[in-house]
Symmetry: C2
Subunit: 214 residues, 2 copies
C-alpha cells in the first residue's frame, strides 16, 4: 500500500491566504481571525477541541473526522509550530496546543535550527532540516505504513507542491478575503494540470476543494 | 462519548429501493444490478474490494473510507446475510463475502431462527432475535464504546427508524429507477421532521443524503 502525503482540512480565504499578515504570539494568524476561517470545522461533531456534546454531522463533519484517518505522522512548517523565528532561544515553548496536541503521532517541524525532540501526551515533535524529500522519507518511516499529513502553513505546502511530493489535498475555501499574508494560491485552478479536482460547496459557506494526482 | 447507530453508504434508486424484486441466490439484489447502484463506491480508492491500485480520491471516496470509521459492530437483516428464508437448513452458507468479509467486527444478523455464531477472519456473525432495542444493546456492548453500523437492507433500516433508534444516516441516491423491490422511502423528505438533512451531489451522478438527529 502506498504511503500518501496528504493535505487535510487546510483552510484559506477566497483570495488564497492561509494566514494573514503580521503574525505574532498574540495573533498567530496575523490579521486573519482563525475562528472565522475555521468556523466550518468548529461547528462539527468531529472537531477535536469540542468542549460540549453536539455539533453537526453533515458534509463538513466528514472532512473534520477524516483528519486522522490512516495518518501516521505530520510534517509542519516552523511558523505553524511557533511565533518565533531564527535560532531557538526559548525551549519552554512547546507549541500552541497545550498538554494534549491534536496530532497523536510523530510531528516533524521544518527548521534550520536544531532542537531536541520532546513529547506531549502521544505527540512527539522532531525538529528537522534537509530538503523536502529527506523530511518526507523520515516522516514515512515514522508513520509505519500509514500516510503522512502535510499540516501547512501555505508556504510549506507550496514547497512540497513545487517538489511534486503531494498526493492529495483537501483545501476549504472561506468566502472572506484577506488581501495579504501567507498565500497558497491565486486560484485552485493552478493545480489543475497535475491533479484531478472536485469542488464541493457546503451549507456552512465554505467550498471544499479536493485534489488527487492524475 | 455516545455510541451512535449509523447507516453508512446505503444506496437506493431514485424511487427509494435498496434492492429489486425477486431476490435469489444468483441475483441477491433481484432485478436491480448492484454494480450499477454501487458504481460510485466501486470507483474510489477506498473501496475495500479493490483488486487494483488507483481509484478516485474525491467526494465519493470520503464516504467509502468512512465506512469503518469508529465502527465496532454491525447489525444487518437476515436477507442481507443469506438468500434463504425461514429455518436454517444449510449451515455451510457463510454469507456472500468469502473468507475475508469487509466488516472486521462482530455482526448481528436479525433472525427468528437460532443458529450458532461463527467467525471468518476478524468478523464474527451472531444470529439474534428480540426487538430492535435488545439487539442494539447487544451490539453496543460488543462494539466496546465505538459506534454501531446499521447495515440494511431497507426493511431493517425502516424498523430501526420506526423505533427511533437511528442517530445518523448516509444514503446515496442513484439516478436510476427500479419500480419495485425493498423500499427505504418514497422521498428523503420523509425524515425531515426528525433529522437535519443535507443533500450533496457528486460528479459520479449519485446524490449523498446526510441525516443526523435534530
Amino acid at each position: 500500500m502506498t504511503q500518501l502525503l496528504r493535505v487535510q482540512n487546510f483552510t484559506v480565504s477566497a483570495d488564497g491566504y492561509g494566514a494573514g499578515a503580521d503574525q505574532t504570539l498574540e495573533r498567530p494568524f496575523g490579521h486573519a481571525d482563525p475562528r472565522v476561517l475555521m468556523a466550518w470545522a468548529g461547528a462539527t461533531a468531529g472537531w477535536p477541541n469540542r468542549t460540549d456534546a453536539g455539533g453537526s454531522r453533515g458534509l463538513d463533519d466528514y472532512f473534520t473526522r477524516d483528519f486522522s484517518h490512516n495518518i501516521g505522522a505530520e510534517i509542519m512548517g516552523r511558523n505553524k509550530f511557533a511565533p518565533s523565528r531564527g535560532p531557538w532561544v526559548d525551549h519552554d515553548w512547546l507549541g500552541w496546543w497545550g498538554d494534549e496536541p491534536p496530532f497523536h503521532t510523530p510531528v516533524f517541524v521544518l527548521t534550520h535550527h536544531p532542537r531536541p525532540s520532546f513529547s506531549l501526551s502521544d505527540t512527539t515533535f522532531h525538529f528537522v532540516g534537509g530538503d523536502q524529500g529527506d523530511v518526507l522519507a523520515q516522516a514515512r518511516t515514522a508513520a509505519e505504513g500509514r500516510d503522512v499529513r502535510l499540516g501547512g502553513g501555505a508556504q510549506t505546502i507550496r514547497t512540497f507542491l513545487d517538489a511534486d511530493l503531494v498526493d492529495t489535498l483537501h483545501v476549504a475555501v472561506h468566502p472572506s478575503e484577506l488581501g495579504a499574508g501567507s498565500r497558497l494560491w491565486a486560484s485552485p485552478d493552478e493545480l489543475a494540470d497535475r491533479f484531478h479536482h472536485e469542488a464541493v460547496p457546503s451549507t456552512s459557506g465554505v467550498v471544499h476543494h479536493l485534489f488527487w494526482r492524475r
